[in-house]
């Protein structure tokens, strides 16, 4: 079984790369599917679960400083519960024994024993902002400033969640087999090269 994991900076095109990679290589693809399953298993709304998981560290941090101590444990238990459920869902994906690409969610660490090919996707700020603005629906009326704030918040949460769960630094080059900077690349073209890289890794 071959597993590819993709971690990424918000707006870097990591999700598109993952989707295309799965298409080219004929692998299953998991991204939001994980959230949906966590929500189902816990009997919760998928949107709520996503917000909880993505804001996990940030919220518990805020709470410890700004609210009464009594409310902290409940919130933290909820979040930890979701994180554990998410871990189980990811482990079950691996147990299916099928080749797959998993985007985000620290799958690289959770599935370490399967020796996945781990990719980190980054890009410079300008190209990330551009991608976010292009992707946004017209109604959203996003400004560059809003996008950058959003990007920083999400990446900060991803980094904090990774540290909490895995004890390792998010984006640290030593944790990934390949770190790809998508700046000035066409993701479609880039995907072909990444696929060859992954192939070579699995056949080594």
């Amino acid at each position: 079984m071959k597993i590819i994991t993709i971690s990424r900076e918000f707006g870097s095109g990591g999700r598109e790369l993952g989707k295309r990679l799965a298409d080219i290589m004929g692998f299953d693809y998991y991204d939001r599917e994980i959230i949906t399953e966590v929500a189902e298993k816990q009997g919760l709304d998928a949107g709520y679960v996503e917000r909880e998981l993505d804001n996990h560290s940030w919220r518990s941090f805020t709470l410890q400083f700004h609210r009464s101590f009594a409310t902290v444990p409940n919130i933290q238990v909820t979040n930890t519960g979701l994180l554990l459920e998410q871990k189980r869902v990811i482990e079950n994906i691996a147990k299916l024994g099928k080749n797959c690409v998993i985007v985000g969610r620290n799958a690289d660490i959770i599935l370490e024993e399967y020796k996945p090919f781990n990719i980190f996707v980054c890009a410079d700020t300008d190209s990330k902002v551009l991608r976010c603005l292009e992707r946004a629906e017209n109604q959203e009326k996003l400004t560059r400033r809003t996008v950058i704030q959003n990007m920083r918040r999400i990446d900060k949460n991803r980094a904090a969640t990774r540290e909490i769960i895995t004890g390792s630094r998010w984006g640290d080059r030593s944790a990934y087999n390949l770190t790809v900077n998508t700046t000035d690349w066409d993701i479609k073209e880039l995907t072909k090269s990444v696929a060859q890289f992954a192939d070579s890794w699995f056949n080594r």
Copy 2:
């Protein structure tokens, strides 16, 4: 003209990757050749020049703290002179207009205007130590401990020199198109994938 630059952690196999990449792609290759030319132009010994350049930041730092102030400027002028000469040598390589691979020496920043394909090569500590021990001649009697100390010192100097010259952080993923972790790879196999990546970059 296509330029590939390689920055690397000591012991990661970056030099071997660079040499093989140049062979596969039919590019010129520059590494120690740069030192030799700097030495010739300055009428100095190549070994001396290499030690001076590699210990640049570390030495000027020590000197500022431990020696009398009067001796500092001379030493610093020597080092700055060598760094400038090195910069000229690298710029002259680019002016030849031929496809090339340049290992180290912050060539990615010096030749920024040529839009080089910039690679950073890293590996985990164990595999770097193993590579260093294998490479060492028997007479050297290196221990794991010595190798790690050496590795840290050299990488620290590389990082400091980069910051002094370029103001940017060494190894920071955003500065490179591709960051490759050579752990558990055969460099020869890996080189093929990197070459395809570089090709795709130049033909984009």
